[in-house]
């Protein structure tokens, strides 16, 4: 029996060596091979389509994926090698074009060419350097110290202001009275000619808001403070004026009898602002009393059989308290009665 098993074993080994993974039992391997082939074709088609569109780098990745599914297919490895060469050549062509534009200071075109370089060859060494450093606005410039230079002298030459020597010292961690060593490199920050002004002149706006507050022009106070807070959300003076504006405006509306408007305005202020809570409570109580009065008046009118006026009173109740159940029910019932009377007449 021994030679029989040895022979079978050796046949298996030889088969496996010859066929690699394909040497697995056919029944198990077959579905996988089918899927593999289909996927390989899919990648191949995708790669060819991308090549036609000119998207060589993405095409390359799909050729690599196809190659990965069948590493022994020379067609794929050859394709990858030739495509890689084409990509490198194209990338270099665009990089050189970019350099021509860069030297002519046509930076927009240079950027486009450097980007195209990377589209072809993402591993291009120089294109990212140009895109990330040379085409970006500089914030400082290096300066090599000459014999006899002083900080104030450099400042005078570079900034036309000897006092800026202190800034150079601070930037380069040297003492302001120290003479810089000849041959060393100093970093000189570039100063923009115009200093950025804030979009909102807070001081002027605040002073204007305060004047308006004194003049009891609360609407303008709220408009100005809103503008300041949009720019500087943490400005304490603007926040104070805004809250005070809401509080005072709420009080005015309350005095005018516009209770709901008053409540809405007061609720816009910060809930923990001093006096807001009391004022909201006061308005709330007044609303409750008014609701009660309108409701009762409605009942009285209903008993006097003035149904239309009664409904009007309950509607006033709902305007102040939209959740008032009794008023809602009464309106429903009374409207139904009014309709019936109309039909009967």
């Amino acid at each position: 029996m021994k030679p029989f098993f040895t022979t079978i074993f050796l046949i298996w080994v030889v088969l496996c060596l010859f066929t690699g993974c394909a040497g697995l039992p056919t029944s198990i391997r077959k579905p996988f091979i089918k899927k593999e082939t289909a996927l390989m074709e899919q990648y191949q088609n995708k790669a060819m389509a991308l090549e036609q569109q000119g998207d060589l780098q993405t095409a390359l990745s799909y050729w690599q994926a196809a190659h990965c599914l069948n590493p022994k297919d020379v067609k794929f490895s050859n394709k990858i090698i030739s495509l890689t060469d084409t990509i490198e050549k194209k990338a270099e062509e665009h990089f050189q074009k970019g350099m021509v534009y860069y030297r002519k200071k046509h930076f927009r075109n240079a950027r486009r060419e450097f980007l195209t370089t990377l589209r072809f060859n993402p591993n291009h060494q120089k294109a990212p350097v140009y895109l990330k450093t040379k085409l970006i606005r500089k914030n400082s410039t290096p300066y090599t110290v000459q014999k006899g230079d002083t900080l104030n002298g450099i400042a005078l030459r570079f900034y036309k202001d000897p006092d800026k020597g202190l800034m150079i010292a601070r930037f380069n961690d040297i003492h302001p009275t120290e003479v810089p060593v000849s041959g060393t490199t100093l970093i000189l920050p570039i100063l923009e000619t115009t200093i950025a002004r804030p979009a909102v002149n807070i001081e002027d706006e605040l002073s204007q808001a305060k004047t308006c507050f004194k003049a009891k022009n609360y609407e303008t106070v709220l408009t100005i403070t809103k503008r300041i807070l949009e720019y500087d959300s943490l400005n304490p003076d603007a926040a104070e004026l805004r809250n005070a504006g809401y509080l005072e405006m709420g009080k005015v509306l309350f005095k005018q009898g516009k209770l709901l408007d008053s409540l809405i305005v007061l609720k816009n202020a910060d809930p923990d602002y001093q006096g807001i809570d009391d004022e909201i409570r006061k308005v709330g109580t007044a609303i409750k009393i008014r609701v009660k009065n309108h409701y009762r008046k409605g009942i009285r009118l209903y008993l006097k059989e003035d149904l239309e006026s009664a409904v009007k009173e309950w509607e006033k109740v709902l305007a102040l308290d939209p959740d008032h159940r009794d008023a809602k029910n009464n309106i429903e019932k009374t409207t139904r009665i009014l309709k019936n009377i109309e039909t009967f007449n």
């Binding site: 021994k2 098993f5 074993f9 298996w12 697995l24 039992p25 198990i28 391997r29 996988f32 593999e36 996927l39 990648y43 000119g54 998207d55 780098q57 993405t58 990745s61 690599q64 994926a65 190659h67 990965c68 599914l69 590493p71 990858i80 090698i81 890689t84 990509i87 486009r112 980007l115 990377l118 589209r119 060859n121 993402p122 591993n123 895109l131 990330k132 085409l135 970006i136 606005r137 500089k138 914030n139 400082s140 006092d163 800026k164 202190l166 601070r170 930037f171 970093i187 920050p189 570039i190 923009e192 200093i195 950025a196 002004r197 804030p198 979009a199 807070l229 959300s233 943490l234 816009n268």
Partner: protein
């Protein structure tokens, strides 16, 4: 008898191999250093994260498998190609290139009371929108790796940032961010921290441990680009240095993390501020100029879009551009 057993074991090995097939192709050239592709037949229980952990040594790189195979989930008995890396680090295509939106939030409340305050329900709706539409929040390091042309990021990446250091970040925003598995960067201005409405250092430490980035928005939130009326130029420089250095030192001391990025108060900057940031080891900084960022943006002038409290979902959506059209044929 021994040979028979050995033969059966050998046969079993081959059969089991067939149920989990894998081919590994190492394809290198001077143009494609280290590029590797692996073909994997998926089995029940495989997920994008588990495959990513196994083949890319990092479950967070699952998006690479998803994007290359154009899938959202893994189904068993399917062949997937796993590239060890994506070469297109800048997301550059024939018709343009990838951009990353950076969203800037400030304060949150149960109900919005001002433009700078986003209501809880609105924030929840915005995060839900991001999740349902396939956006992935990235960390600051991932973002700057992209800007520095080091590593690619998912196509629909978004960076969420929250300014100032309001307490409502902890109470309202963080639970929602966690619900949708999003991360965020907090830009705090150190003088505000510990105040009545502000985060405490203890809360900031907790957030850092949860994976939130803690970075600087200066010391006092002054406009860094503006020399005050009563301030000499030299005082301005000295104060500027304080504004930049103080939070850096404090964050390191209180949170134990490096502070390398800054959000300019009011988004204002100038070349002097930027040079000062660079001198003190800051690697990037954020403005509030609306717009998304391609990789070639100036690292010290990154665009950010402020999300206001009165934005509806359409206005929010307009700030999520992930592609800039440029003819790159």
């Amino acid at each position: 008898m021994r040979k028979v057993i050995f033969f059966q074991i050998f046969l079993l090995c081959l059969i089991s191999e067939a149920s989990y097939a894998e081919f590994n192709t190492h394809l290198t050239s001077k143009n494609m250093p280290g590029a590797e592709f692996v073909a994997v037949k998926t089995k029940p229980g495989d997920t994008l994260s588990s495959l990513s952990a196994r083949y890319l040594n990092d479950p967070k790189k699952a998006w690479i498998i998803a994007e290359f195979n154009d899938i959202e989930t893994v189904t068993p008995d399917r062949i997937l190609i796993i590239p060890s890396q994506l070469n297109n680090r800048g997301g550059i295509f024939l018709n343009g290139c990838q951009t990353v939106p950076v969203l800037a939030y400030h304060q949150f409340s149960k109900k919005s009371t001002s433009r700078m305050t986003v209501a809880e329900a609105t924030f929840e709706a915005q995060m839900k929108y991001l999740k349902e539409n396939g956006y992935r929040s990235i960390t600051l390091d991932q973002f700057f790796d992209f800007l520095n042309y080091k590593n690619p990021i998912p196509k629909k990446s978004v960076l969420i940032t929250i300014d100032d250091g309001w307490k409502s970040t902890y109470d309202i925003a963080v639970p929602i961010l966690k619900k949708y598995s999003f991360s965020a960067t907090l830009f705090i201005y150190s003088d505000f921290i510990g105040g009545q409405k502000a985060l405490s250092w203890d809360q900031i430490r907790q957030l850092a441990e949860m994976g939130f980035d803690i970075q600087s928005q200066s010391k006092t939130h002054r406009n860094l680009a503006e020399q005050k009326k009563d301030e000499s130029f030299n005082d301005y420089i000295a104060n500027l240095e304080k504004e930049i250095l103080h939070p850096q030192v404090l964050i390191k001391k209180k949170v134990g993390r490096d502070c390398r990025y800054l959000a300019y108060p009011y988004g204002s900057t100038n070349s002097l501020v930027r040079a000062m940031l660079k001198k003190h080891g800051y690697l990037g900084a954020f403005t509030v100029h609306r717009g998304s960022n391609p990789f070639f943006v100036n690292n010290y002038m990154v665009h950010r879009s402020t999300i206001y409290g009165d934005y509806d979902i359409d206005q929010f959506r307009k700030n999520l551009s992930v592609f800039k059209k440029i003819d790159l044929k």
